[in-house]
């Protein structure tokens, strides 16, 4: 537990991604199996069991500590696991040391911090004992472990059992650390991830050159996606349209459907298994293929705005009502494998032919094919691009007809040509300190537009938050401006005088219950700092509302 606890402790205080990555790599290199594998599981998909920890802890603490002191401590610390870890020294089984009147009482140094002479508790041992433990004995076992550990180890053990480490490490970052151990790409780890299970001894053996790559043929595994480059002006000028075709860029999320042998999984673009969130899509898919497409909400053949899809995302379980109101659908545009054939080396045109034939034959429900846009000339295509204002379309994809399916972001094969962003002049309202290298700068900005209620009354209502789009030199200037124009501060946030105008670019506007304005921008970034423009001349809320897609998302209540 000691090494694992030290890792979590340092991760929780490290502000930068690189520092976290280094800590993870160091740990994974030095910690033995199976400890490191379980640590990796805890940082990614979680442990294969869960416990009623809150109840168990409260029973233990009732027994071992004064309820009033525990309550006051819990209120102050704000986290039960941490409170127990911190307070544990002050509790004793049966007797409370701080209650004794014996003057010779040595409260502090009597506490044994290691299991007397026994070997220190290891993470792997914790897991193997928990895997088979009788629930009724959990409290007793936990208590004896806590007695044998130091403060940080107690905290780490309890965090592990809560199932939520909250140390600022994403599953992807943890997988990246595994890749870094052997200077591999994270996509290689993602490709085998769904074929392996904790404690991942085979994975580490492969990474460390002691074993072969985990066998993925029998499992529903994620294949890393082929990604596109943003279309630059020079790319467009050099582009030979005869060698490319165009497809719509749908405003959903990229998914991969993997199905074989009566089993199906749906993966997000980073390889997270989201099948449980989308049973409506998964249940109709019974085939032998790996397909690439866009997950959308489609109602009566019409693609709904992204806000509707958001109602379905990031849920562990989905209600019948959500399934009915926000029916999911996958619009397919590529095939990696069909009926056991790996199509990835083939040119796009051939993959498409196979996909079309397969789809005509199989036609799984809740899927269709993304159409290829007919355009005879670049001029015509550019007009189409400029004219597109459909809510469900983000722009146009340009794909080289001869392109094989290559994982990662290969050059010159696929381009995304996002439609021109919407822009709006907004007024800076709040600034927040950044993190890591930006921790001494006010670099996260919340901005608003005017809501006019009468000829004399108007107020700023926040519509978005952005922390990029400006240069380092501009950041220094804005930071100085924020400090000189602060009217109030709350912790790391400063409210500023409504005087500075940002021209903000954003991809779309959608209904939001979070913002007072009732709307939120998608993907906002600072386009220009309008030092010259008076705040009174910034845009009004109506302008933003008029930019909303005409089809109003249903059942989203707007807070006034």
């Amino acid at each position: 537990m000691k090494e694992f606890a030290a890792l979590l402790d340092r991760l929780s205080y490290s502000p930068s991604r690189n520092a976290k990555l280094r800590l993870l790599v160091d740990y994974l290199r030095t910690a033995p199996d199976p400890d490191r594998g379980w640590a990796l599981a805890a940082l990614t998909d979680g442990l294969p069991f869960s416990f009623p920890l809150r109840r168990t802890l409260s029973e233990i603490m009732d027994r071992r500590s004064d309820p009033e002191l525990f309550r006051l401590s819990r209120d102050y610390v704000g986290d039960t696991a941490e409170t127990v870890a911190l307070i544990w020294d002050q509790t004793q089984p049966g007797v409370d040391p701080t209650l004794t009147s014996d003057p010779a009482w040595s409260h502090r140094y009597s506490h044994v911090n290691m299991q007397g002479g026994a070997t220190p508790l290891r993470l792997g041992e914790v897991i193997s004992q928990l895997a088979h433990i009788d629930r009724a004995l959990l409290g007793e076992r936990l208590e004896s472990w806590l007695d044998g550990l130091g403060t940080t180890e107690r905290w780490a053990l309890l965090k592990l059992l809560t199932g939520a480490l909250r140390v600022g490490v994403s599953a992807r970052l943890a997988k990246t650390a595994v890749a870094e151990m052997a200077a591999r790409e994270v996509t290689e780890i993602e490709e085998v991830w769904h074929a392996i299970a904790p404690p991942y001894e085979g994975l580490f053996a492969w990474i460390e050159g002691r074993g072969s790559i985990p066998d993925v043929t029998q499992a529903l595994v994620f294949r890393p996606l082929m990604l596109s480059h943003p279309l630059e002006r020079s790319d467009w000028d050099a582009l030979d349209l005869a060698k490319f075709w165009a497809e719509w860029k749908w405003d959903g999320i990229r998914v991969q459907i993997v199905s074989r042998c009566e089993k199906t999984a749906l993966f997000s673009r980073t390889g997270d298994d989201i099948s449980r969130t989308f049973p409506d899509v998964v249940e109709g898919c019974r085939f032998d293929a790996v397909l690439d497409g866009e997950l959308l909400v489609v109602r009566d053949g019409q693609v709904a705005p992204f806000g509707d899809l958001q109602q379905r995302l990031n849920r562990k379980s989905v209600s019948k009502r959500q399934l009915e109101q926000f029916p999911a659908h996958v619009r397919l545009y590529d095939a990696l494998l069909i009926d056991g054939d790996d199509l990835r080396p083939l040119p796009l045109t051939e993959r498409r032919t196979r996909l079309e034939a397969w789809h005509a034959r199989t036609s799984p429900p809740r899927t269709d094919l993304s159409a290829i846009i007919a355009a005879d000339s670049k001029d015509q295509l550019q007009q189409l691009w400029a004219a597109t204002r459909d809510a469900s379309i983000e722009g146009i994809m340009l794909k080289r007809r001869a392109s094989p399916y290559v994982a990662g972001r290969p050059k010159g094969l696929w381009y995304k040509w996002k439609r021109a962003p919407l822009t709006l002049d907004c007024v800076l309202m709040y600034a927040q300190r950044g993190s890591g290298k930006r921790s001494s700068y006010y670099s996260d900005y919340t901005f608003g537009v005017w809501r006019v209620s009468s000829s004399v009354q108007r107020e700023l209502v926040p519509v978005g938050k952005a922390y990029f789009g400006f240069t380092d030199a501009e950041l220094v200037e804005i930071d100085r401006w924020v400090r000189n124009n602060t009217v109030d501060s709350f912790g790391p946030v400063r409210a500023v005088a409504p005087k500075l105008v940002f021209e903000v670019a954003f991809d779309a506007v959608q209904a939001s219950t979070r913002h007072k304005s009732g709307v939120a921008m998608r993907f906002p970034r600072i386009l220009r700092i309008r030092w010259d423009k008076p705040a009174e001349e910034a845009d009004r809320l109506e302008t933003l509302l008029n930019m909303m897609p005409t089809e109003r998302p249903i059942e989203v209540r707007v807070k006034r």
């Binding site: 205080y13 525990f70 006051l72 911190l86 701080t98 009147s101 003057p103 001494s440």
Partner: protein, 341 residues
């Protein structure tokens, strides 16, 4: 109220809080008053305890020197030095100052009246500190204790261990400045002394706001080794230790340093949320106050039957003292800063 007065009448008839602070009627003085008074006894130089404008001040030599350095020589009408252990008759009571162990010159105030003894701790800690005289335990009838860390979650690690973590980080990140936030008076000098005791003999770099108090400590005979000012540095100070007031940790000032590791030396660092709020990467649990076990230990060892608890987490400590069979109450004194430890 009547019940409470009866319950505490033995002391409340002559010692009680008023809007200026803790007032001793037969002695005609206040202890650490928040408003100007005729006669003040000052436990130590922190600004929530020592304030300017009193007509007469009784304190240790070091506390007086600190007050004069902070508020100018005429900050009080008259100063009376009292060495530790010297009995001073004031009105109908005898007042003795003994070491509180908190910072240089800090004192507990012992008040003797007609065979009854009261100890007012001011701020105190039990463990040794190279920059402050060791806390002296005095048994008494009424013990008035502070409660800054009056919750059982607070347990300070060993100073040497925490300094070891700072030096360990310095080895691990030799290219980064180690910027340690520390309160100007007391914590800064103690950190420097602890670093020296751990064998760290490089110059220690200071934010300008820390310089004058370090100079004063030196004048008062505390050896701090070689100190330098960040503004005089020729480089971004990679691999060096820099001390600054907590407010400067995230200030623009820190941008002149080499990718600083942000550390903060305080008892509050025991709680993760407090460290994260301040963006601290290396929390050092080094405090000039007692932790919970020390508070509880001292309440027991004071032998007092009655315990009054002042600034901090009074509720939990009063509860604990009651569990120990003491008569205990929270003494609401105004003007003390919970955060400034």
């Amino acid at each position: 109220m009547a019940t409470r007065l009866r319950k505490y009448s033995q002391f409340e008839s002559w010692l009680r809080p008023d809007p200026s602070g803790l007032h001793c009627l037969p002695g005609g003085f206040h202890i650490d008053p928040v408003r100007p008074v005729d006669r003040a006894i000052i436990t130590h130089g922190h600004s929530d305890h020592a304030r300017p404008g009193h007509r007469a001040v009784l304190a240790t030599r070091e506390t007086i020197a600190i007050m004069q350095a902070r508020f100018g020589p005429n900050a009080a009408g008259h100063y009376q030095e009292s060495p530790y252990g010297q009995s001073n008759t004031i009105g109908d009571v005898t007042v003795t100052l003994v070491p509180g162990g908190h910072i240089l010159g800090s004192a507990q105030v012992i008040i003797d009246r007609m065979g009854c003894r009261v100890v007012v701790t001011g701020d105190y800690k039990r463990r040794p500190d190279p920059t402050a005289a060791l806390f002296q335990l005095v048994t008494c009838d009424l013990f008035i204790t502070e409660a800054t860390f009056g919750l059982p979650v607070f347990r300070h690690e060993s100073d040497a261990g925490e300094i070891g973590r700072l030096l360990g980080s310095l080895q691990e990140y030799p290219d980064r400045t180690h910027l340690v936030g520390a309160y100007i008076l007391g914590k800064t000098q103690r950190l420097i002394a602890l670093l020296r005791a751990a064998g760290y003999d490089r110059p220690i770099w200071l934010h300008g706001a820390l310089a004058s108090m370090c100079d004063l400590y030196k004048q008062l005979g505390v050896n701090l080794g070689e100190l330098a000012l960040v503004k005089d540095a020729k480089s971004k100070l990679p691999g060096e230790i820099v001390l600054c007031p907590p407010s400067a940790l995230k200030d623009r000032w820190s941008r002149r340093l080499a990718d600083p590791v942000i550390a903060f030396a305080s008892g509050w660092m025991r709680v993760r949320a407090r460290a994260r709020q301040r963006g601290v990467e290396l929390p050092l649990v080094i405090s000039d106050h007692c932790d919970w076990p020390e508070l509880v230990q001292t309440i027991g060892e004071s032998k007092a039957e009655e315990i009054w608890v002042t600034h901090g987490h009074e509720e939990a400590l009063v509860h604990q003292a009651t569990r120990m069979g003491k008569r205990a109450r929270a003494l609401a004194l105004v003007g003390f800063e919970e955060e400034a430890e």
